[in-house]
């Protein structure tokens, strides 16, 4: 069996999230170097604050300032920081109960080594230089042995509150399409199309995915199909896709390759868009060095009879 194909796959997205009134106040506060909590019905102060009581689900809106100093309630030493984490030198993850709060906030503690960290140790906020209204406005915590800092008496009202955050997310993968699709992609690079026949119902699937969705069994017998095929149905695309160098309108079609029992899809070229029709006979066109067909063009054969492809619609 030839080696399966692999390729890097990066999934990256800047999630834009709107904030509710409590989250907005908290993150705006961080921008202005003020830490806010929220008071619950039973007079507990939650930091970080939430909009609904985690016990009673009661709506919470009563903002209370707490101190930027606090106590570590648990910790873990991270000797190999990972991408995106608050510090790029070894640090401790900490849950910190700020002075005046009843719950703890997760963040990083900048400390020289694990022996300098313990539960119960006193810490204070180290503010980021550039603050935008995000949890990362707290750069990290740092050890602190002074008095508890006094809150400034902030009301929680801000003139220009932050109303949203952009949370960038990126995950890196190595994608592999598996055995059946690897065989298909490799054959395409050779200007051939191969499907797989179901051992049970004898249908030929193109592209093959290794299984027959009707019978639920593995397919493995390779069958060469095409190169010619028949347009079974199509649509006319009028909207230009970003980064796609194709003039609109163009036709995107389902194409039943000769010998296949499933239509695949592809773009139709070499014919005006308004002359494409069901039954049109087409063949794939590879561009120079292309690993897959760029588009399909008319072969010039007479149209296929509807009866020959109606099962493949």
């Amino acid at each position: 069996m030839p080696e399966v194909l692999k390729a890097p796959l990066v999934v990256e997205f800047p999630f834009t999230r709107s904030l509710g009134p409590v989250q907005s106040a908290f993150l705006t506060g961080l921008r202005d170097r003020v830490v806010l909590g929220v008071r619950t019905g039973d007079d507990r102060i939650l930091v970080p604050p939430v909009e609904y009581d985690p016990v009673t689900a009661e709506e919470l809106r009563d903002l209370v300032e707490v101190a930027p100093t606090g106590t570590v309630t648990t910790w873990a030493w991270n000797h190999e920081p990972r991408r995106g984490q608050p510090l790029d030198t070894p640090f401790a993850w900490v849950l910190v109960r700020l002075d005046g709060a009843d719950t703890a906030l997760l963040h990083a503690l900048d400390a020289p080594d694990p022996d300098s960290v313990h539960t119960g140790m006193r810490v204070r906020v180290r503010w980021a230089e550039d603050r935008v209204g995000a949890i990362t406005d707290i750069a990290c915590f740092e050890p602190y042995d002074g008095e508890a800092a006094r809150p400034s008496g902030h009301s929680g009202e801000f003139e220009d509150p932050v109303t949203g955050i952009v949370a960038a997310a990126r995950l890196d993968y190595t994608y592999s399409p598996g055995r059946a699709q690897t065989a298909y992609i490799n054959a395409l690079a050779d200007h051939r199309a191969v499907g797989e026949r179901c051992p049970s119902c004898r249908k030929v699937y193109v592209p093959p995915r290794g299984a027959c969705p009707t019978c639920g069994v593995a397919t493995s017998e390779q069958v060469e199909v095409g190169p010619g095929g028949t347009v079974t149905t199509f649509c006319i695309v009028n909207i230009k896709a970003k980064n796609l160098d194709i003039e609109v309108p163009y036709v995107y079609a389902h194409i039943a390759l000769d010998g296949a029992d499933l239509a695949l899809h592809g773009r139709i070229g070499g014919i005006p868009y308004d002359q494409v029709r069901m039954g049109l006979r087409v063949e794939p066109v590879w561009t120079e060095g292309g690993r897959y067909p760029d588009h399909y063009r008319p072969t010039g054969e007479p149209d296929a009879d509807y009866e020959t492809f109606k099962e493949l619609l």
Binding site: M1, V4, K6, L9, V11, F15, R17, L19, Q23, L27, L46, V47, P48, P54, T74, W75, A76, W77, N78, H79, R82, R83, G84, Q85, W93, V94, L95, R97, T103, A104, L105, L106, H107, T119, A134, I135, T136, I165, A167, A169, L171, D172, Y173, T174, Y175, S176, P177, G178, R179, A180, R209, G210, A211, C212, P213, T214, C215, G216, V217, A218
Partner: protein, 347 residues
Amino acid sequence: MSRDIAVIAVAQSDILRSTAEQSEVEMLMPVLHDVLDRTGLKTADIGFTCSGSCDYLAGRAFSFTLALDGVGAWPPISESHVEMDGAWALYEAWTKLLSGDADTALVYAYGKSSPGSVRDVLTRQLDPYYVAPLWPDSVALAALQAQALIDAGDTDEPALAEIAARSRATDNPRAQLRGSVPQGAYAVRPLRTGDCPPIGDGAAAVILAAGERARELCPRPAWIRGIDHRIEAHGLGVRDLTDSPSTRLAAEKAGAFERPVDTAELHAPFTSQEVVLRKALGLDDSVRVNPSGGALAANPMMAAGLIRIGEAASRIHRGESDRALAHATSGPCLQQNLVAVLEGDPR
């Protein structure tokens, strides 16, 4: 309507560090065939199908739809999916059977962690405003919980190492890590690599059947006497990380405390989490905990919880247990927990 529902067949793949040569459906299909073969049922005989998986592991949207090819989804079948561990898919199937809408159900789950970095992937399930932007990975969060347990006097590093060694001293041929595995260096202190689960790919499937159908298809059905799941606040600093009240409540609602169990399959990916779960469930040394090796021996994401139910049921099928507890977890530091109580017919 009240009906007795049982796990009547169980199958799973070997759990491997990487299955890059197989697509998800290619990995899953032998497991589906295996579980069907054990009952003689065909896919067309199954009343309801439910699966658990997660797109973030593969990095592709709707990845579960491709896996559906493996169950023969044409002509149309009654089907559902949960974007979490298959244990929760089993819960959905159980309610479907309870309602009388179906007499048999196929539940499957799979996860391929090998394409990505699962520690990073799991950060994306955290609170997106206050926590996820800091990228705290799953090992770091478990380590905070472990330190809290050590500070509370509930465990220490040698005790955690014993849990690791006992879990991997399993004869489970499907397990990824077996035998003597070094505790290794700190991953995130106080957790060492030996305290953490292996990262692996794998799939599992079970078949449920109701009432007489279960007796026809299985010599000793594993009757689900109760099943319940509960969740806790997402804010880690709101919770007491040394306890798991959601597990305790789910166990109570599932009837786990009505009579002692002889076996417990706990989904504790980290050694320290077994300490929390034993305490929450009141398990003493009379209970066999994780004879399969548990998640410390094999932790295919999204399938490991379903496998706990499957392992507990298998022991009942084989007559090695009469009353077993199975547990599944999801989220950081045991945030959400499911407990099922399984029993064999009296002998």
